[in-house]
């Protein structure tokens, strides 16, 4: 997962209910962000897709669009404990 760049609005999806991440994203747009990136790893990937789709189809319908979806692999842990996890980054942008 790439490090957030300055001024980039990121929502990192974890173990909380999906709606928490939906609201976090909506709040960032309502505070003036033009672009929000929803990121997740491992099992939270499905939840990140749900959150992005709920923002797009229910909360900010016709206002934001999904402009990029990237998937990747990241190494977690050290030495023998290390394993690979999948990642996703979903970019939502305010429609021009």
């Amino acid at each position: 997962m790439s490090k957030p760049r300055p001024g980039e609005n990121v929502v990192l999806v974890g173990n909380k209910p999906t709606m928490n991440y939906v609201l976090a994203t909506v709040i960032q747009f309502n505070q003036g962000a033009d672009k929000v990136v929803i990121k997740a790893r491992g099992r939270a990937i499905s939840k990140a897709v749900d959150a992005a789709e709920i923002v797009k189809t229910r909360f900010l319908m016709n206002q934001v669009e999904i402009t990029d979806v990237k998937i990747g692999t990241e190494k977690v842990g050290e030495g023998e404990q290390s394993r690979n996890v999948s990642t996703i980054e979903i970019t939502l942008e305010r429609k021009k």
Copy 2:
């Protein structure tokens, strides 16, 4: 989720172990496919990303690349029972 077009190679990810879908994808490439689309809905989305990443980084390293990732929403069930589920379609293509 879009209907498979004639000649399109699709792997639909469900409840089986991830490795089943990895192997289904690798077999399609080994049988001459230039393009395989891995599709999933709901909780299986994380598994679809894992399968695509494992194919790309472990089995067909330097031979295939992820050329497109689409996410969407689909209605499942009828009437009051109907609900929305998220979907993903990951396109892998043989490198030219």
